[in-house]
Amino acid sequence: MIEELLQSSPGLMNFGIFFLLAVVLLLVVLGFVTYAILAERKVLGYMQARHGPNQLGGKWGLLQTVADVLKLLIKEDVIPKAADRPLFIIAPIIAFTPAFMVLATIPFTDKFQFADIGVGLLYYIAVSGMTIFGMVLGGWASNNKYALLGGMRAGAQMISYEIPLVMSVLGVILLTGSLNLTDIVVQQEHGWFILYQPIAFIVFFIASIAELNRTPFDLPESENELVAGYFVEYSGFRWAFFMLTEYVYMFAMSSLITVIFLGGWLPPLDILGFIPGAVWFALKFCVVVFVYMWLRATLPRFRIDRLMEFAWKVLFPVALANIFLTALIKTLFF
């Protein structure tokens, strides 16, 4: 359906439909974020021998996050006097917009995808790189020393980890010969790439945690060192935007891992094909999200210098070796 729309001549009707679909996606994503936060708190609670939210919205605390967001919305909008006002205001938006933009290329099922562009993977990585601007700008514009340190850490970390991230995916691209995400899924019909590219998967997964700024790579916001890092001066809805960015990226990154390595909407066995692809996608996606939460409950934080060493001295060479190995095997045996 979307393909037809994309190829038909532009008009008010097309625009209307796309606008509507985008709003639907935004609502889906916001719904995910709302309940991902709740799920995270519940999972952490379960792992930490406590209950998590259980007061508002029945015994599962289903309305807890809604109430939290509401509170953030009606909070006073504080902008520090010494802050660089325009940058301070625009930084959360710069951080958030790419997070939402990358969702366009994710093929949730074989039918449901917003933009089936040829270089989908490249688009994802390029656009998501822009979020760094938002974080560094936010840290800089706050005119706070902790925020500055956090912003600088965010910049250094995310740029460093983007390289192993891209390099690890190259192994997959060598196999598929395509950057199109739908193509990548379709080629996994006879086996997911997690089986053919285990090294790439591990490197990609580790680098993705660093890209998401989650434990054990949560240095940009490391509460115990930098209080809150780059968003220490933010409050209310601007702060919510930074948090939203993080969770939307978690949504996007988990989707991307599902697409590249876990076979997207494809069922694990052909016999299970009667279950719709969307369900498979959601299941695999949830497993990835759960692993992120699990790691957060278990691991302590890296130190900044070790973090850089790890990116450049471990992940990067391993990813390069993986590309070499893949190329070698491909030319010799196929």
Partner: protein, 366 residues
Amino acid sequence: MIRTEEMLLNVGPQHPSTHGVFRLVVKIDGEIITEATPVIGYLHRGTEKLAEDLQYTQIIPYTDRMDYLSAMTNNYVICHAVETMMGIQIPERADFLRVMAMELGRIASHLVAWGTYILDLGATSPFIYAFRDREMIINMLNELSGARLTFNYMRVGGVKWDAPEGWVDGVREFVPYLREQLKGYHNLVSGNEIFLDRVKGVGVYSKEEAINYSLSGPNLRSTGVKWDLRKDEPYSIYDRFDFNVITREEGDCLARYHVRLEEIEESLKILEQACEQFPAEGEIMAKVPKIIKAPKGEAFVRIESPRGEIGCYISSDGKKEPYRLKFRRPSFYNLQILPKLLVGENIANLIAILGAVDIVLGEVDG
């Protein structure tokens, strides 16, 4: 040309990892610390001066509020000082109750030290596990004294309350439980590569430096000095128990971490033996006069608190209040080495080093 300059960063007094209201003014070049100046006194309440107008029994609640994570040892040191001056013999049962309370307090304190230290390094779960187990100790001490944190349990000449029925059995059951939990602690944290990366070889000082800076407790023993007042100058009934003094040679943050965890195990040993030897009956208070007056003169006693040597000096002119009271507060002394350790480290190591010293601000500021 790029112009770089040093930045002055205020860590604290309101900061998640300074364990209270401790303030550290650090000069940083990028993330590397070039100078660190601790600023203390935000929690100063003048315990020592206040004590000059208080009767000895009235001073005890003030000591609860110094090292609020192991108030029992503070209770003991003031009582012990007055008892030494007056030459009072403590009934056996009271001695057992005191030692058990102090060892439980030591375990509780080390659990908090462990949990908060891992929290400082960025992992949240161990903190909650530590507090879950500490809660059981707090409940036991609550049964004993009627308070969860500020016990005010000991008196000159004994203890205020006898153990309720079944209390000793509760302690006896707790020992194997915590041993099992400790295994889990080690499995979860001690072998973690990221954790080892953060603490191994960080904040190293030598034996001589430790002694010169007058460090004590786990901070001293982590350098290999075998010095524990419970063994070297046994007070109360510690000479009756069989336990080891834990030492490590490395003198880094990891050594301090291991010393603390293993000291929990030694304290469990003491508790186990104390439960066996606990006298079935007996007095809990010695015969002391209604109004306690220390004889003219002075006395200094020191005992081993979880954080190191806590000392109490009393100078008396024979009245019911002390003429001068002085505490040697181990956290305060342990903190002195910090400016030296921090130079050349980065911000992340600052937190790791400060956490490993294990200060309690109530004690630092007095």
